[in-house]
Amino acid sequence: MIDWFLVRDVLSWGLMLVGGAAVVTGAIGIVRFPDFFTRLHAAGVTDTAGAELIVFAMMLQAFSPEYGNSWLIFAKLAFIAVFLGLTSPVATHAIAHAAWMTGFKPMQGPELRYEGDGK
């Protein structure tokens, strides 16, 4: 006899921990990467893996005997996951495009030089 709630809890905890680790990794990347555009990529880890995995973990937790209508909570969390996936790249693109249009140039190449940097 398998205790499905235990299986659910183990899966949910796993997703929650991996998601939390992704959020922390993204934050570390934002601090460590050298310029604006490379930092955007680190923020992308927090946006996708971090946020979505934590929402998935919460979706599993929605099925508990103490809640009635638990699948409504599941549906609401699913909406949150979908809208996060739709809106976070729009925000990232808006920031990157604004920086590009104001003439902010990224570092390029393995030596991390700005364009026109003589050395």
Partner: protein, 160 residues
């Protein structure tokens, strides 16, 4: 008219899922009224077109989302490895990729997919190409991104 009906059905499903009222007649009538009113407003505002109600991308979008999730997972691992590496081997570069989807919805799906994948961000959209910033040489996979564009164009053609 087809798009109007699709919008009414989608709004009704969203209303039911978010409210959770299935057995309160008065609230259901209010819900039905607000759904019809919202759909009428959308019709009146002239946004019931391929952009406002992009029914054409279904059902092809579901398979694409599964594929994209796997790609995002792989890219996440590569970027996380760079963020945690003792000496990150970054090699940022700018490059352009062709933008094969013809409709605005297709172009937006493609550009958003590029941005959603960690390690690549779409910076500027032209008529036929997208300017992309890549984090490392490995992540700046022009052939892989072109393949993604071809997939989006295929979903789009599914409607035609």
């Amino acid at each position: 008219m087809g798009r109007f009906i699709i919008l009414v059905v989608v709004l009704a499903v969203v209303w039911l899922l978010l409210s959770g009222y299935f057995d309160k007649p008065l609230l259901l009538i209010f819900g039905a009224g607000s759904v019809i009113f919202s759909a009428w407003l959308a019709h009146r505002a002239g946004v019931l077109d391929a952009e406002g109600v992009p029914a054409g991308v279904f059902p092809g979008i579901f398979g694409y989302m599964v594929w994209l999730t796997v790609e995002i997972g792989k890219a996440n691992i590569m970027v996380a490895r760079q963020a945690l590496a003792v000496e990150p081997k970054l090699s940022p570069k700018l490059f352009t990729v062709p933008n094969p989807p013809r409709s605005i919805v297709g172009k937006v799906i493609f550009a958003n997919s590029i941005t959603l994948t960690p390690g690549t961000v779409s910076i500027d959209l032209g008529e036929d190409e997208i300017l992309v910033h890549g984090l490392t040489e490995e992540l700046s996979d022009e052939a892989g991104i072109a393949d993604m564009g071809a997939r989006v164009a295929k979903i789009e053609r599914g409607r035609a």
